[in-house]
Amino acid sequence: MIHYLVRRLIALAPVALGVVTLTFAIIHLVPGDPVVAMLGETAAPADIVGMRHQLGLDRPLLEQYFAYLGGLAVGNLGESISYRKPVARLIAERFPATIELAATGMLVALLLAFPLGLIAGANPGGAGDLGAMGFAIVGISIPHIYLGPLLMILFSLDLRWLPLTGRGGLEHLVLPALTIGTAMAAILARMLRQSLIRVRESDYMRTALSKGLSARAALIRHGFKNALTSVVTIIGLQMGALLSGTLITEIIFSWPGVGRLLISAIGARDYPVVEGCVLTFAMTYVVVNMATDLVYAIVDPRVRMS
């Protein structure tokens, strides 16, 4: 187990470096002058030169890259141009909000997916299956940018049960989490159904049934374990979608997280903040992926050996 952990950590390093490099490349290598974009075309040439120097953009690219890496190592992400505060602090202030939303979204997804997937997989072709899968395919197809406002109209404006926007108590989490969780739930439900069907037709089942176990007991004992592996796989693959979904949902619901910071920084042409936020999201994704790999390894010992 420790071996696996260590091996995965070592494999993490080049990917992490790659992510950092890619982020750097996007911000610094794209055509167009960020300083002119920031200060405006009619800004005084002296101001442009000054800002470029302040941002360190007049140094050779390689030097900038290593300076960036060095800064990262000590947690320095530069300073925001609009807020005049360290980028790391701005992100740290908002990170908990984003995690709260993402985690709750994931929770909602699991809570929705399990019953749906079980109903569908337990009786393939039946009414429950059709209903659940109908819901699933619709859930995958509705984009967040519609589902969010739709839920707002229904539950905030018409029924007045829940608050419209912003972060606060539990009632503020409901709609955003539902928005994020529905699409993921749909995908998870489909996957669960798939794996349940496979299990039913697999050798395990036949062996268990021949041993005299009832169908349901066999399903539960073997089905669950397999389902778990598939679910973990899918969760890992869906992490990216979860994070992007969180980003968009933050905008829709005015949720004070890193995603909202990113979008407003884009509007303000505050490139240090944009870079910092993109990096935060990407690294979160990498770390969560590694965590899912670990869970996978715990659940399925075969993985550890490979």
């Binding site: 609009s82 829940l162 108590g169």
Partner: protein
């Protein structure tokens, strides 16, 4: 499933527990500063007015009334003497004397405090306090709008400069004091016990920062919010008006909305081009439809209520044909697709983008292409203040004295010296506004500014769009609200609450 979650979360729409004489006011953004020496934007000024008092205040139409000053004298063209009222106290009980006034002004004027208000005190040469209840101001030259120098909110002597943006306001002598401030959340104002007020007046105000306009409307409808001034979307007003518990009040305002040009662009320096743009905008229709009638088509910076208002100026009715002729004359003939190869960039904030699209469509009809560039407010405002734009649309809030023309049209008042962000330069305008500034006789000034307004309408440094009405939406339990033409919240200080509870949503 969803229902279960909702039940878990519980209902959240009961009115928050407030003492009966508290009202909630929703504002759209946090003030940039709570210290009156630094507050320049509209929200900061509105809040500042409730906490601080000044020597004199204007009633929005250019007439001044004494507040801290009991009487004012002008012994010579360059001297103004203020006699302070006795018995005025700050909210902590301290007496307000000339020392505090002196301190406030000195801290604004000190270069190291970097106060944005310093520029507005440019004409002040000296300020002295010969005794505890007298202030003497002198100006370098005769300065007609001298009373405008006396509108600074006064803080107690010794108040430090604001350390950071999240600090609560300093002590003031106004009707309220700031009891609590959570940035981006809420501000709580409580009565200043030493400021006289009617016996049943509202005791405290909770100013909640609600950036989402839909939420503000909802809070009004549900009775959570009692008052909102000039921050409700026009399209939502009819919906709000349907509620029995709410009153929508529209009063003519002095806020002036205009289209601004960049005079450093040779194409825009051509009067024919500017005139063409003026003729191609259908202001009447916009006011009646988009603004839902909450505005008046404007003839110039000053609105009809101002003592110096001159209505007999060149006007520009909607005439796209004339616009096209002017553009032909200016040397921009139309091609086969109707466009003339004239492209301008219109900078705006996201809220202003919709209006930008209207301008875009109207200009397109006469062959001018307008591209829209949307920026967030901070970036946009910085660009505008630096003169970094082709065309943009803004408003001036709280114009009092016509000397304002000097700040915006005098060729020496370009950034960073003043608000002439267009870099407009016209020697006739210069002589007129400079004369208006130093002539102390009201009749003579009125004549001078009549010329200024006529010149402005002829030369079009701005295209006047409309004067914005002040729209306040309030719960009917609020009694005695007086709308000021400049949108001031001052009358919140004398509000009383009626016994009948306006309650929540009763229209559905």
């Amino acid at each position: 499933m969803a229902a279960a979650l909702v039940a878990l979360a519980g209902c959240s729409h009961s009115r928050p527990d407030r003492s009966p004489s508290t009202i909630q006011v929703d504002i759209e953004i946090s003030p940039t500063s709570t210290d009156p020496r630094f507050a320049t934007d509209a929200i900061s000024s509105r809040i500042e007015e409730l906490i601080f008092d000044s020597l004199v205040k204007s009633d929005g139409d250019g007439r001044f009334a004494g507040h801290l000053a009991e009487s004012v004298e002008r012994p010579s063209p360059t001297e103004i003497v203020f006699h302070l009222k006795h018995g005025v106290r700050f909210s902590d009980g301290r007496a307000l004397t000339a020392r505090d006034v002196l301190f406030t002004y000195h801290s604004v004027l000190a270069p190291e405090s970097m106060s944005p208000k310093r520029a507005s005190l440019e004409q002040l040469r000296t300020i002295d306090a010969p005794d505890d209840y007298t202030i003497v101001m002198t100006t370098a030259r005769p300065y007609a709008p001298a009373l405008e120098l006396a509108t600074e909110g006064i803080v107690p002597a010794g108040t430090p400069l604001p350390a950071e943006q999240n600090a609560a306001a300093p002590i003031g002598s106004g009707p309220f004091r700031m009891a609590d401030y959570q940035r981006d959340e809420a501000i709580r104002l409580e009565r200043n016990p030493y400021f006289p007020h009617p016996p049943d007046a509202v005791q405290s105000i909770l100013m909640k920062i609600v950036p989402d306009p839909t939420v503000r409307a909802l809070e009004l409808a549900e009775g959570v919010c009692d008052f909102s001034g000039n921050n409700i979307e026009y399209d939502v007003l009819p919906w709000l008006a349907m509620h029995q518990s709410l009153e929508v009040s529209k009063t003519p305002g002095t806020t002036y909305r205009y289209l601004s040009f960049n005079f450093r662009d040779p194409r825009l320096r051509d009067l024919r081009v500017r005139r063409a743009i003026a003729y191609s905008i259908d202001r009447n229709t916009i006011v009646n439809t988009m603004l839902r009638g909450t505005g008046r088509v404007a003839t110039g910076l000053l609105s009809p209520g101002n003592w110096a208002y001159e209505g007999n100026v060149t006007s520009y009715s909607y005439d796209p044909e004339k616009a096209r002729q002017l553009l032909d004359q200016a040397g921009y003939p139309a091609r086969s697709n109707g466009m003339r190869g004239l492209t301008f960039e219109f900078k705006t904030t996201p809220e202003g983008a919709r209006m930008g699209e209207v301008f875009q469509a109207m200009l397109q009809r006469v062959g001018i292409e307008l591209t829209i560039r949307t920026l967030d407010f901070a970036t946009y405002y910085a660009d505008i203040q630096a003169g970094n734009f082709d065309l943009t649309s803004l408003q001036w809030v709280g114009i009092n004295d016509p000397n304002f023309y000097y700040m915006v049209f005098d060729s020496k008042k370009t950034p960073p010296h003043g608000q002439n962000r267009s870099y407009y330069s016209n020697s006739s305008m210069d002589s007129l506004v400079e004369a208006g500034m130093s002539n102390l006789h009201p009749e003579a000034r009125r004549k001078i500014y009549a010329h200024v307004q006529q010149l402005a309408a002829e030369e079009l440094p701005y295209v006047s769009l409309w004067w914005v009405d002040n729209v306040a939406v309030m719960n009917r339990r609020l009694v005695g609200f007086d709308a000021f033409p400049n949108g001031s919240f001052r009358s919140l200080a004398t509000l009383t609450l009626s016994g009948l509870d306006g309650g929540g949503d009763s229209s559905q």
